[in-house]
């Protein structure tokens, strides 16, 4: 995969930089890293971060420092679908432990692992701000709430189907 944004994305980045005061283009780092992760395989490899650094005239270490600080940036490859299941107090009270255990069993992976086919990653995470709709998980850019075992089955099927259609 070549590390190069499309013209469209580069223009988008240019536009993002204008949101901040002149000379403060570092401020655009978080949004640009989001774009980069989305564009270049779902995680931030070193060449990707170096590319982002060059786009924003930063030293590479400035990007590494920031990327490793925030939990949404993946510093290692992840599955095509990442189940980020909340495990903090309010979700725990509504059975998130059981949901995590069910997904582990269903996909034959442990928390933090990716299935052999590279399809699914299970990542228990901390509070996502959906406590009233617990248990829940983040899948891509959206939340899946009020999870039950049946719902988890449904979501897994949905993911498999979407891949089958797109291939």
């Amino acid at each position: 995969m070549s590390t190069q944004f499309s013209e469209e994305k580069l223009n988008k980045i240019k536009e993002i930089v204008t949101h901040y005061p002149e000379g403060e283009q570092k401020s655009a780092l978080l949004p640009v890293l989001h774009l980069a992760q989305q564009e270049f395989g779902g995680w931030l490899d070193v060449p990707v971060m170096d590319y982002v650094a060059s786009l924003l005239s930063l030293e590479p270490i400035e990007v590494y420092e920031v990327a490793t600080f925030y939990s949404m940036y993946n510093m290692k490859p992840v599955g095509k679908f990442m189940f980020e299941v909340c495990q903090t107090g309010p979700c725990m009270l509504r059975g998130s432990d059981d949901i995590i255990a069910y997904i582990e069993q269903k996909l034959s992976i442990k928390a933090g692992e990716t299935t052999n086919d590279g399809m699914f990653t299970l990542k228990p995470v901390e509070c996502l701000g959906a406590c009233g709709y617990a248990p829940m998980m983040q899948l891509g850019n959206y939340y899946r709430e009020h999870l039950t075992k049946e719902k988890v089955d449904q979501i897994i099927d949905e993911c498999r189907t979407s891949v089958a259609i797109n291939n």
């Binding site: 925030y70 939990s71 903090t88 309010p90």
Partner: protein, 452 residues
């Protein structure tokens, strides 16, 4: 039925769009403020309203605004804190997701009051789709002349930008949020200087919570005094509560701070009682950082008085027998829940979210989590409880930012009120793996010390 100021129109079909929002009376406060008021008058109204910051600290918003420095030729910024991450709290998300224009409206009026021509909404990274909703709302507002240059011919220019975080609870702390807005690691700054003097990019900055900024809309529409008439004492206006845990109706409720805790939990208008007909064991009334209370101290104060859902009453008794309003994240535990396990998840949360900048929090949060894990999984020792107590004591008050306190308080309160449950876990390690301590005496009426 309590009066609603923020959620009054939340259920109107299509309220998310500009047309419907405007038709329902939206953006009146912008017209009023920009056409007939000076920025100082807007600040004055907010001061009169008694509005307290809804992010958790409860600092008077008008006073915060009046602290902003106004050096000649230096731009000022308003930054909206939409990094909602306190476990138990999900109210800001509701506002932004369902009535995004209310926030945009509040932001325009507040930006006018503070003289912010570039205003930012720092939204937590996980709320990706909500960032999209807000951006759409901004476009609509701009298209209709409420944003951009010379708004409504007032000469006031304002742009609002959405800045998405990337997963860090600490960025809800205002100086960490500013660092993150600047594209840095979310390490809180050492205060002073305060953001009002030197904030984002070294410029005077005010950071306010989503709900606080939304509340500016009814304050300007109806006047600060009118707003202050709602509620009780220093708890003016309405407050959004995020109710979750073992209740029948988890969700967002707007209350006017005059109802009792009991009513909030059991009335059908609000939480609808404890789920599955169980009994109430404990509750964290203001987001995970504030002290947990057993059922008996939650519903009544130590003096035997009814406890109400407002800043003062929830704090009645201090940390010894009271708690805090905090961010309004109302977490309910039923009789079958384990306080040790719940506290362990919170300790894990704070350990995970510590930025690592200052030593007590960086090292202490992990230590507490490890000990709590031991206790939860039957490997605890009797001395662990006192050790935990001492560690939280060494963290509290000794860190750069309030995350240290936020990590210490839940542990302290759990030990303070549920020590026997911790002890039971330690002395019955095998049984503790199979069942929970249960309700025990936590709902028993308390003896009230006779007043002299």
């Amino acid at each position: 039925m309590g009066r609603k100021l923020l959620l009054e129109k939340a259920h109107v079909e299509g309220i998310r769009t500009y047309e419907v929002y405007r038709r329902e009376g939206g953006y009146r406060s912008v017209e009023k403020a920009l056409k007939s008021m000076t920025p100082e008058q807007v600040v004055e109204e907010v001061k009169k309203s008694g509005l307290r910051g809804r992010g958790g600290a409860g600092f008077p918003a008008g006073m915060k605004w009046s602290f902003i420095a106004k050096p000649e030729g230096v731009p000022r910024h308003l930054v909206c804190n939409a990094d909602e991450s306190e476990p138990g709290t999900f109210k800001d998300r509701y506002l932004m997701e369902f009535i995004p224009h209310l926030l945009i409206e509040g932001l325009i009026v507040s930006s006018f009051a503070l003289g912010s021509n570039a205003t930012y909404v720092y939204i937590r990274g996980e709320y990706a789709w909500i960032a999209g909703i807000l951006e759409k709302a901004i476009d609509e507002a701009k298209h209709n002349g409420f944003l951009g240059k010379n708004i409504l011919g007032s000469g006031f220019d304002c742009e609002i930008y959405i800045h998405r975080g990337a997963g860090a609870y600490i960025c809800g702390e205002e100086t960490a949020l500013i660092e993150s807005l600047e594209g840095k690691r979310g390490n809180p700054r050492i205060k002073p200087p305060f953001p009002a003097i030197k904030g984002a990019w070294g410029r005077p900055t005010v950071v306010n919570n989503v709900e606080t900024l939304c509340a500016v809309v009814p304050i300007i529409n109806d006047g600060g005094e009118e707003y202050a008439r709602i509620g009780v004492g220093k708890s003016t206006g309405t407050k959004l509560l995020s109710a979750c845990g073992n209740i029948n109706k988890p969700g967002i409720y707007e209350i006017d701070m005059t109802i009792s805790v009991e009513e909030f939990i059991y009335s059908d208008e609000y939480c609808g009682g404890i789920a599955d007909g169980k009994r109430l064991k404990a509750c964290i009334p203001g987001g995970s950082s504030v002290p947990i209370l057993p059922a008996n101290l939650l519903l009544k104060t130590a003096k035997g008085e009814t406890r109400y859902m407002n800043y003062e009453s929830l704090a009645d008794g201090g940390f010894a027998t009271g708690s805090m309003m905090g961010s309004g994240g109302f977490i309910v535990l039923d009789e079958d829940q384990c306080v040790v396990r719940h506290t362990m998840t919170l300790a894990r949360f704070y350990h995970h979210e510590s930025c690592g900048q200052c030593s007590p929090c960086r090292e202490g949060t992990g230590w507490m989590e490890k000990i709590l894990k031991n206790i939860e999984y039957g490997k605890g020792k009797p001395s662990d409880i006192d050790l935990l107590w001492d560690i939280q004591r060494k963290i509290e008050g000794n860190t750069i930012c309030p995350l240290g306190d936020a990590a210490a308080w839940p542990v302290a309160a759990a030990i303070r009120h549920f020590r026997d449950e911790f002890e039971w876990h330690i002395t019955n390690p095998v049984a503790a793996q199979q069942r929970n301590f249960g309700l025990a005496h936590y709902a028993d009426p308390l003896e009230v010390a006779a007043t002299a």
